[in-house]
């Protein structure tokens, strides 16, 4: 892998969004990944609809949680994702109003990525932002810097938050993942979380996945 990479600098990442009082992080993680995959394939960045997933992915549970793997399937079955403008975020479950005619983006498949963080970094630099899930220990009070909680406090077995890896690098020799969160730009470092890279911190390597756009 290259020593550092940041998809924000390449124009592959939309602005930080806010899930509001709703456990819909899984939808934001997946739309962020699809936005990146579509950008790499088609060259244009579209902000995509999380509300479509909340309303129309019947396997997941909207604000009560969901899984990226189910969301990819739902996007395939539905026939694509509408844009944020066409199907805007409300932060609560509503009746599904997806229209195939308005779908702007499709995916062909989804893949599970290696748990090796070197391989994850290599994949990210070449293929785009990665959907991951982490243990959110300490994030309620996180303000800035690279988080590296003790492993017993941030167990990989207690994953409870889905986010998007958009880059990696080193700050003063401390390796980090740059993570796009969905709690608004007024949290963390302008909405981003920086987590130690290379130690499996908070289970960042346990549920890495991506959509595939052919």
């Amino acid at each position: 892998a290259l020593p550092e990479w940041d998809w924000r600098e390449k124009g592959a990442v939309t602005k930080v969004k806010d899930q509001g009082m709703c456990g819909s992080c899984w939808a934001f993680s997946v739309t962020g990944n699809v936005e990146g995959q579509w950008f790499l394939k088609e060259g244009n960045l579209l902000s995509l609809s999380e509300q479509e997933l909340l309303d129309c992915d019947k396997v997941d549970k909207a604000c009560l949680g969901g899984l990226p793997s189910n969301a990819y399937s739902a996007i395939k079955i539905l026939g694509g994702l509408e844009t944020e403008d066409d199907y805007s975020y409300q932060g609560r479950l509503q009746t599904c109003s997806f229209s195939a005619d308005k779908a702007k983006v499709y995916i062909n498949d989804s893949v599970e990525l290696s748990q090796n963080e070197h391989k994850m970094a290599a994949w990210l630099a070449k293929k785009g932002p990665i959907s991951v899930a982490i243990n959110a220990f300490g994030m309620q009070f996180y303000r800035r810097g690279i988080a590296h909680p003790l492993r017993p406090l941030c167990s990989p077995w207690l994953i409870d938050h889905a986010v998007l890896l958009v880059g990696y690098g080193n700050r003063s020799a401390v390796p980090f993942w740059a993570i796009k969160n969905s709690w608004g730009p007024d949290w963390g470092e302008q909405g981003y979380y920086y987590l130690h890279r290379g130690s499996g911190a908070c289970g960042v390597n346990t549920m890495a996945s991506s959509a595939v756009v052919d």
Partner: protein, 215 residues
Amino acid sequence: APAPPPAAGAQAPELAPAELLAPARFALEMYNRDRPAGTRAVLGAVRGRVRRAGRGSLYSLKATLEETPCNDPTVCQLPVSKKTLLCSFEVLDELGKHVLLRRDCGPVDTKITGAGVAEDAGDFTVKMTSIFKDFVITYNRTYETKEEAQWRMSIFVNNLVRAQKIQALDRGTAQYGVTKFSDLTEEEFHTIYLNPLLKDNPGQKMRRAKSVEDP
């Protein structure tokens, strides 16, 4: 050879202080981590027990720590705890490598210190009220009743202490403190913002991606 683990319900033997020094010093080091030089605590009395299993030893320690005063309310412990703290630590020693599993410190009963403490506590309340007001303004919070505002402030103060503990146990460069979630209990935060399905649901099986180094 390690001693056999004690039978269920049996108390592990209390150890002589010399045997507790290494884990106690480690616990103190973790406690003092990231504290400014002038505010570091020193170790007082120590007692404790050990449970040994396999290659590891779990030390349950009770220790008193003596703290020097500190005036910044976003950094300091409660003023009543600034002199002597009674701490419970659990330290795992695996092949000589220590890990702090639990740290719980509280003030030793200092009622006898009298008026000085009362003044400090009053000063602390004023400072906390000011910080909470800043939080309410910054994040545009509104509470329906005075009682709710007081309840939220008590959560806010507890959360500042929690953030300090998380800060003390972080091995990176992260800073923890007041955020827009600082008036929520841990349970509220988990229920509203997090996703419990992730930890126990495998979801749909996906095929493995090819490594990017593959030809």
